[in-house]
């Protein structure tokens, strides 16, 4: 099977300390994939590095077996909701339309198909009656759905979502989930950062368990063992973070750039 994302020997750092450390994995296509791990374990950093928003200290990422730039149009990114100021003067429609602004269509006028797609995306997340509403006047869950709609408007094959279920009520979580399995049936791949360990085995076909290092990957049954979870969430964690702190204090280089690519 073709891989949706391939990450090879990836290390990412902000300044000194590594936040991701020698990460290696391949993800399948056509599945709903979860990334789990404690706070500050580098989940957001991983997505950002995959999306090319952060430069890795070493290693590389391939998407659909190609460098990201070649397949950008097939990848949609849903950032964490708190990463933007929702008081921005724009309506739901305006924000979802941003999912259609590509490098090559700056000078083209917005066409009917674009409008269609945007309206459909808004409908899919159940926000049609709010489409002209200013985004600051939405609830947190509705704002989250705006972000999902904007990604849908991109018409991608691979979706990377940073905690789409945060601040969302059970009903909305379900409707987003239905949407995701619909997308899966269309052969799309969805990667989701998730926090609620209770629901992971229901939601995901495949899991990455992260804590600076990749602790485990595979089906939920393979990943959610007691040992793995202690490795990620407790016990061993302290040791790992001690090492990381040491590196930070001594401004020790994590590794020389590209030494082993």
């Amino acid at each position: 099977m073709k891989s949706s994302i391939e990450v090879h020997n990836l290390t990412t750092a902000y300044g000194g300390a590594p936040v991701l450390w020698d990460i290696d994995f391949q993800l399948p296509t056509g599945q709903i994939i979860g990334i789990i791990g404690p706070n500050g374990s580098g989940k957001t950093t991983l997505l950002k590095t995959i999306m090319g928003l952060l430069d890795p200290a070493s290693g590389f990422v391939k998407v659909f077996d190609q460098p990201l730039d070649k397949v950008r149009e097939k990848v949609a990114y849903v950032p964490q909701r708190e990463s933007v100021d929702w008081d921005f003067p724009a309506s739901v429609y305006d924000v979802v339309m941003m999912g259609r602004y590509r490098k090559y269509n700056l000078f083209k006028r917005t066409k009917d198909p674009d409008r269609e797609i945007v309206l459909q995306s808004i409908e899919k997340v159940g926000l049609s009656e709010f489409k002209d509403r200013q985004i600051s006047r939405l609830s947190g869950g509705q704002q989250q759905r705006v972000f999902v709609a904007r990604a849908l408007a991109q018409g991608a094959d691979l979706y990377l979502m940073d905690e789409p279920f945060v601040g969302v009520d059970a009903a909305t979580e379900n409707s987003i989930l239905n949407l995701l399995s619909e997308m899966k049936n269309e052969g799309k791949t969805v990667v989701i950062i998730h926090h609620d360990l209770q629901t992971v085995s229901d939601y995901f076909d495949y899991l990455l368990l992260l804590n600076t290092r990749l602790i485990a990957r595979g089906t939920p049954a393979e990943v959610l063992t007691k040992e793995n979870l202690t490795n990620a969430y407790g016990g061993q964690l302290t040791l790992l973070s001690k090492v990381v702190n040491l590196i930070k204090q001594n401004e020790f280089p994590i590794r020389e750039k590209d030494s082993d690519v």
Binding site: L53, A76, S83, P89, L106, Q134
Partner: protein, 427 residues
């Protein structure tokens, strides 16, 4: 009055230049400033404006005289450098943006003072006028400069129109824009360059501090009035241009009055007004809203009391009795003046009529009072059924809510509870 007519008819040709100058300078800085505002770079105007000064001096030293091209180029280079430095400091260190702006701003200003001292000591001839950049000299705008201002303004306007989509995408959510493959770095470069350009043109006429005010303030004021970015841009430009012309007018009728400070004074007044009176977040709007809600609650409570009065007499079917205000007070303890005021308003609205100090419900009033009581009771029933609440708390819980329940929610309650008509208080 005559002077006003003289002013608007441009009797003095100089007035045309000053007014046009204000129109172009203010539009330029506002148009690009709005994006700085949206990107939370509110202090960048100050950083750039101060950092232009050493550039002006360098331009003067290189040219050996006040050559506008050299001055402009020098200013552009140091102005641009300052924003680059701010971003560099923020990205590479733990220093926050406001602190970084402070560091860069004072650094460049120090550099300016050194250069200015050097010029005053060494440069021969006419160095006078450089200090005008501190406070500006709008009255001296000439034809050539107006042309330059116009070109800059048009360039900025065109850039914004052409790159509008990218600009909003980057301003709202830079990571997302980058993930779409938009040339984020280039767009940031464009925004920075246009900001420096706008401020560099304004500084000669309005001075450092005032130009900085023109970048952000109008956008902040306009934001109070609209949720739509296009309208916000139009409004911000209007606010700024009106202030500009106002300043030009004051300095026209009172010769010797500087234009710049008056421009900023007008601008501040408009901003203050926006802050107080706008419908969005304004102080006045929230005050009016609170007052309206209070009146609504009072009216509804009076109607409800009248209904309850009938209920006690088992006449809620007709609701035909007349009662005195004192009888209403027996049902519910209103503040007497409030009650009388409420009754007056309800009469004016046609919900009740008054006959010799006796009040009775009109047809409209009957309908409305039934609606209120019904909402109150539906909500009580709902709380009882769906939540754990003590029966003696139920009434208080419904007391506020009944005033805000919408017809849609009323329908839902009806369906959920399977209740028609007005339930009795039977818990």
């Amino acid at each position: 009055m005559n002077s006003f007519i003289d002013f608007i008819s441009f009797k003095d040709p100089n007035v045309i230049y000053v007014v046009l100058g204000m129109v172009f300078i203010n539009s330029s800085s506002v148009l690009i400033g709005t994006f700085a505002y949206l990107r939370k770079r509110s202090l960048i105007g100050d950083a750039v404006a101060h950092s232009l000064l050493p550039g002006l001096c360098l331009g003067y030293i290189l040219a050996g005289e006040k050559d506008i091209t050299y001055l402009f180029l020098g200013a552009f280079v140091t102005g641009w450098l300052s924003t680059y430095l701010v971003d560099y400091i923020v990205n590479k260190t733990k220093v926050k943006q406001d602190a970084a702006i402070g560091i860069v701003l004072s650094g460049f200003f120090f550099f300016f003072v050194v250069l200015l001292t050097y010029i005053q000591k060494n440069a021969a001839g006419n160095q006078g006028g450089l200090d005008h950049f501190l406070f500006g000299q709008a009255a001296a705008i000439n034809k050539q400069e107006v042309m330059l201002f116009a070109i800059v303004c048009i360039a900025i306007l065109l850039s914004i129109m052409i790159f509008y989509r990218w600009l909003i995408s980057v301003s709202f959510n830079m990571d997302f824009a980058a993930s779409m493959g938009l040339p984020v770095k280039a767009i940031e470069f464009l925004i920075t360059s246009l900001t420096v350009l706008a401020i560099a043109t304004g500084i000669q006429a309005l001075g450092v501090i005032l130009t900085a005010a023109l970048v952000i303030t109008p956008a902040a004021a306009a934001r109070f009035w609209t949720h739509n970015l296009r309208w916000m841009l139009v409004l911000a430009v209007s606010i700024s241009v009106i202030s500009g012309i106002g300043g030009a007018y004051v300095s026209y009728i009172k010769s010797g009055m500087p234009t710049g400070p008056w421009v900023v004074l007008f601008l501040s007044l408009i901003t203050l007004m926006s802050f107080s009176f706008s419908t969005r977040k304004g102080i006045l709007a929230s005050y009016l809203k609170a007052r309206k809600n209070k009146a609504k609650i009072l009216h509804e409570n009076i109607l409800k009391a009248i209904y309850q009065h009938h209920e006690q007499l088992e006449a809620e079917g007709e609701l035909d009795y007349s009662l005195m205000s004192s009888e209403i007070l027996k049902i519910r303890l209103f503040d007497t003046t409030e009650l009388l005021k409420g009754l007056r308003n309800l009469k004016r609205k046609g919900f009740i009529r008054e006959d010799n100090k006796m009040f009775s419900l009109t047809a409209e009033g009957k309908k409305e009072s039934r609606r209120i009581v019904r909402l109150h009771r539906l909500w009580e029933q709902y709380l009882l059924k769906r939540t754990t609440i003590d029966t003696d708390h139920v009434h208080a819980g419904a007391e506020v809510i009944e005033h805000i329940l919408s017809p849609e929610i009323e329908r839902e309650l009806e369906i959920e509870l399977g209740i028609e008509g007005i339930p009795k208080e039977d818990y």
